[in-house]
């Protein structure tokens, strides 16, 4: 990618107008770390969205709202009641990159190894998109395919809304990577709602070892109504192959990756169950 122009709009409306005008030659720019993975020589104009007030974390009602241009390091450092986002953010790349890389940049274009889409799918996050006015959509719809489709007219991701976990809800995530800064081999995130000692609801999502992050409905279905035990988790995890075709990577076979994914699902569920039973984040 060849950046040939740098535009600094004063408002979201100006940014959207600039992007609409530029069409495919325009690109919103926040942390800029994804540029490394965008080869090509076509000249592109960057529209800087870092000065538009999109860097914040605040609790509004039943949601934590995170501005799209909030650096990952801010999310990592943030603490709030039953806040769980910091766990995955501290596992993403290096602290130098987390200081500039933003949540919006991580999910506006989904790379195969991305961790945040997995977490947001499991958490049933809501995504706020500016299209002249603010509109919301759920993570399931947003991540149903590459989100670029949502931004073609110059629309911009403005914020991510994370439900505040209730007392009987628990969240757990697992990222299996070769070393601290490596991309994930498998990322799993799980949200469990416990009621009367049983799993009332479950959202389980996977990424990295599959082409695009997704929920694992067979796993979820196998959990609902059951007691949150290791045996139940293992039985549910064993069904993951029905939802996801695990890919070989990093020189390791698809068979191994499938095993790793199943173990990671169990680990994520156990963490979620522990969280739901009273562990603080």
């Amino acid at each position: 990618m060849k950046l040939c122009e740098f535009i600094r709009p004063a408002s979201l409306a100006q940014a959207r107008a600039a992007l609409r005008k530029l069409g495919p030659k325009g690109m919103p720019l926040a942390g800029g770390t994804a540029l490394h993975f965008m080869p090509g020589k076509a000249p592109v104009s960057a529209v800087d969205i870092t000065g538009l007030g999109l860097s914040y974390i605040r609790q509004k009602g039943a949601f934590f709202e995170i501005g799209a241009a909030t650096p990952l390091s801010d999310i990592q450092r943030h603490r709030g009641p039953r806040w769980a986002m910091h766990e995955i953010c501290r596992r993403i790349s290096t602290h130098q990159i987390r200081n500039v890389s933003t949540i919006g940049g991580n999910i506006a274009r989904v790379f195969p190894w991305a961790d945040l889409p997995v977490v947001l799918l499991a958490m049933n996050a809501r995504l706020v998109i500016y299209s002249g006015k603010m509109k919301e959509m759920g993570a399931d719809e947003y991540f149903s395919s590459q989100p670029a489709r949502l931004f073609r007219g110059g629309d911009l991701l403005a914020a991510v809304k994370i439900p505040v976990l209730k007392a009987h809800h628990g969240f757990g995530s697992v990222k299996a990577a070769r070393n601290a800064a490596a991309f994930s081999m498998v990322t799993i995130a799980a949200l469990l709602e416990l009621k009367d000692g049983k799993i009332a609801d479950a959202r389980v999502a996977a990424g990295s070892a599959i082409p695009f992050p997704k929920r694992l409905p067979s796993v979820e279905a196998a959990l609902i109504g059951k007691e949150p035990s290791a045996e139940v988790f293992r039985a549910a995890a064993a069904l993951a192959g029905a939802d996801a075709k695990w890919c070989k990577q990093e020189g390791m076979s698809a068979e191994y990756v499938a095993n790793l994914a199943e173990v990671s699902i169990v680990d994520a569920l156990e963490r979620a169950a522990e969280f739901a039973r009273g562990r603080t984040a």
Partner: protein, 779 residues
């Protein structure tokens, strides 16, 4: 005073003085090659081969030559065809001459095809795309089995390929080198054993990953000479090899090495300088060539992968009756270091343990894969994985603690080994007995720090996460005896400071500081009085360069001798000034004084007297040094790991690296070398690997996909310096830089076994391999 305490009274040596370039680097001052780039410099980019093995049938650079900003295009049709060796080794090199600046044949994905020098990088890259190349793709050779097979494609079929010294080289069989020896009778030793073993091991490719990639700049001086400023470990070899490759006299070239951002052996190779020099000659402009990270992985040098067969026999009492080590290495498309690496796999390992019957056979073969080269610890790194894995295996068979098994077998001070003489580097080695040796103490101190006494048999361990402790012992060398040479000059200035000029090459190790400490100690002044200038072929004396763990031991002794020469002159002049005989005075704290200290004169006064006042002359000491032995540093390493038996992930919890490097000239720098090399070795053992596709192209040529450990991954590493005193080294010093990388693979492998019962004869210990081995144990 005990021998290992001999260095305690020293005032400069054995003290952790601050690195003399620390402030310069911390402040980001211009230090590295690219910092000195003139504004009118051209940028060089290379067209690399997309094929592993192909002949260039036709090539057209005419469009590229006419592209905007392009000043020169080099290819095999317009450069001299002079066969040479890129390995920066002693001359004549113990490596084949099998390389041309450009050839009409390419031998690996990443081989040179054509180079462009242009005003900007974008223009150079655009010009590369305009070069038309027609290839005749040849059958590639990717494995050792394929390379050794009768009728295998011949990778070096050019008639010029030859070796400059009488060593085995059969390019028609893809054989780069063959060295073999036998001490005693291996067959007899195996017959005497109560237990015999026959195991095979595989060790992987690896990259040095210096943070400063290969970088070189050349420019034409007003006098018409070529000034090459380059990130090299071997400035003098660089000058010689570039002169040969361009067909010009050595006199025409000056090579300067500024600060270097790491080398670890990869910059012992002349991979850029011939092209930058030729581009400068053709254009008359300064020319910079800098590899990016992908080029560093694909085209830069690597660690040779080894296939090892290790046979051994042992008696029930722990006597090792026979060792048979067969090493075959894959040297890739070119053969630099092919012989020396495989020689070191025996020469730097087999003397470690008592054994009367030793058989060694080492071979090196070409393949159409990336090129092996010098890499910290070479040969020993690979062979110690096999030997130290088998030591544990043997200990278990006879029911002995593996630590005790090593204790009863390791070489002692005053002992020799026939291997020292049998395996040199390109020629026969020298007979040698070990002088200093604190390995026994290394084992004791390491075991205590690692908690060896709490180690339990793997069969007693249950649960998902299982912990284990493993160990290994190591030796290395200090310089190449009777081959390596270093030299130094030292002259006094009016204020009592000294210019210390050395050919030795500081590649970030701190050797400039260490050499200054040695000079200051000998001269009885302080290290801050030393102005060190190193690695400039016009201005400093010769030195072979930084490799083979030689700088402190070899160049350091040259410095000590030069300082002693200057000191002799200082004493003579000082005595003259005091009206005394030279034998009536001595040096102390930068003064010359008589026995009771009642008469004394400062170094500054002596300098002014000799330079300006009477019997005027320059006090200048000079010395060269060649070693007659290569005293091994010794080490014992201990790793504590935790293995996830459901996923195969291995986590190193604690690591103890003990090291007997003789006198630690600068203890902090020694600890830094040891910690850095250990972390490098841990990464090599666990996560580093070259992944190739079916065309021989490396698939993970970036730091995103090739996983090196950083400080984020650093386990608790405890470096323990265990002093000894080497009489032949400067103030008792040996070497420290290489040995530490050789321990983690066997120590972690042994720890995984201790945790789970899974024995892996191949690394890196990827989660999949570990899990597979664990499952095999369960069966």
């Amino acid at each position: 005073m005990k021998r290992h305490e001999l260095a305690k009274h020293l005032k400069q040596v054995n003290h952790s003085v601050t690195k003399i370039d620390a402030m310069q680097l911390a402040l980001g001052k211009d230090s590295y090659v690219a910092d000195f780039l003139p504004k009118d410099a051209l940028v060089i980019k290379m067209l690399w081969s997309p094929h592993a093995h192909a002949r260039i049938k036709k090539m057209d650079v005419s469009r590229a030559e006419k592209m905007p900003g392009v000043k020169c295009v080099l290819w095999h049709g317009n450069v001299p065809r002079i066969v040479h060796c890129t390995a920066g080794q002693g001359y004549p090199e113990p490596s084949p001459y099998d390389t041309f600046m450009f050839d009409n044949k390419v031998r690996f994905v990443g081989d040179r095809v054509a180079a462009v020098a242009a005003e900007t990088e974008e223009q150079a890259l655009a010009a590369l795309e305009a070069i038309k190349v027609e290839y005749e793709v040849l059958k590639p050779v990717f494995t050792l089995d394929e390379a050794m097979a009768p009728g295998a494609p011949v990778i070096h079929d050019e008639p010029e390929a030859h070796v400059p010294i009488p060593i085995t080289y059969e390019p028609k069989k893809n054989l780069v080198a063959h060295v073999a020896c036998e001490a005693g009778s291996f067959k007899k030793g195996m017959a005497e054993a109560d237990f015999t073993f026959d195991q095979t091991y595989e060790t992987p490719y690896a990259q040095h990953c210096p943070i400063e990639p290969y970088t070189s700049m050349a420019q034409i001086t007003p006098a018409g000479r070529i000034l090459i400023t380059t990130s090299t470990q071997v400035p003098f070899h660089c000058r010689r090899i570039v002169a040969r490759t361009l067909g010009i006299p050595v006199q025409k070239i000056r090579v300067v090495k500024p600060r270097i951002g790491g080398g670890f052996g990869c910059k012992q190779e002349i991979l850029l300088e011939d092209v930058t020099a030729m581009m400068a000659l053709r254009t008359g402009r300064p020319c910079l060539w800098r590899f990016d990270r992908e080029e560093t992985f694909r085209t830069g040098r690597t660690r040779h992968p080894f296939h090892i067969r290790l046979r051994a026999g042992v008696k029930k009492d722990g006597t090792i009756t026979a060792i048979g080590l067969e090493c075959i290495n894959n040297t890739g498309a070119y053969g630099g270091h092919g012989l020396t690496v495989v020689s070191c796999s025996g020469g730097k390992t087999l003397p470690l343990y008592h054994c009367d019957n030793i058989l060694f056979d080492g071979k090196s073969y070409y393949t159409n894969l990336p090129v092996g080269g010098a890499y910290r610890g070479f040969g020993a790194t690979q062979a110690f994985f096999a030997i130290e894995s088998l030591m544990d295996h043997m200990a278990e068979a006879i029911g002995m603690d593996p630590l005790k098994f090593r204790q009863i077998n390791h070489i002692r001070p005053g002992e020799g080994s026939p291997i020292f003489q049998a395996l040199g580097e390109g020629r026969e080695g020298l007979p040698m007995t070990v002088g200093s040796n604190a390995l026994g103490e290394c084992i004791v101190q390491g075991a205590e720090a690692a908690g060896w006494e709490k180690r339990q048999d793997w069969r007693k361990k249950t649960g998902r996460y299982r912990r284990g402790i493993g160990m290994c012992c190591l030796m290395q060398g200090s310089s190449i005896p009777d081959i390596d040479m270093g030299a130094a000059t030292i002259k006094i200035n009016e204020d009592g400071s000294f210019n210390l000029n050395v050919g030795a090459t500081d590649l970030g190790t701190g050797s400039d500081t260490v050499l200054a400490q040695i000079a200051a100690e000998e001269l009885e002044t302080t290290t801050d009085k030393m102005i060190v200038y190193s690695s400039d072929t016009d201005m400093t004396p010769f030195d072979v360069g930084a490799y083979a763990s030689s700088t402190t031991y070899l160049s350091g002794e040259a410095v000590r001798k030069a300082a002693a020469d200057a000191k002799r002159q200082i004493l003579a002049t000082g005595a003259e000034m005091l009206g005394l005989k030279p034998e009536e005075v001595h040096c102390e704290d930068a003064h010359v004084l008589n026995a009771d200290g009642s008469k004394k004169v400062s170094y500054s006064d002596i300098a002014n007297y000799s330079l300006y006042q009477k019997n005027q002359y320059q006090i200048i000491g000079t010395a060269s040094h060649i070693t007659k032995k290569s005293p091994p540093p010794f080490a014992a390493h201990f790793a504590e790991v935790e293995v996830d038996t459901l996923t195969g992930f291995v986590k190193v919890l604690n690591y103890v690296s003990t090291i007997d490097c003789g006198t630690a000239v600068n203890p902090t720098l020694c600890e830094g070398q040891t910690e850095g090399g250990t972390l490098n070795g841990i990464s090599y053992a666990l996560t580093e690997e070259y992944l190739f596709d079916e065309t021989g192209k490396m698939q993970n040529a970036s730091f995103a996909d090739y996983h090196i450990y950083s400080m984020r991954d650093r386990p608790n590493i405890k470096a323990i310096l265990v002093p000894s005193y080497e009489d032949t080294g400067p103030f008792g010093a040996k070497s420290v830089s290489e040995i530490c990388i050789n321990g983690p693979a066997p120590a972690i492998g042994n720890a995984i076994y201790n945790a789970t019962g899974a024995r892996l004869n191949e690394f890196p210990f990827t989660p999949e391999k570990v899990l597979k081995a664990i499952k095999a144990v369960k069966k």
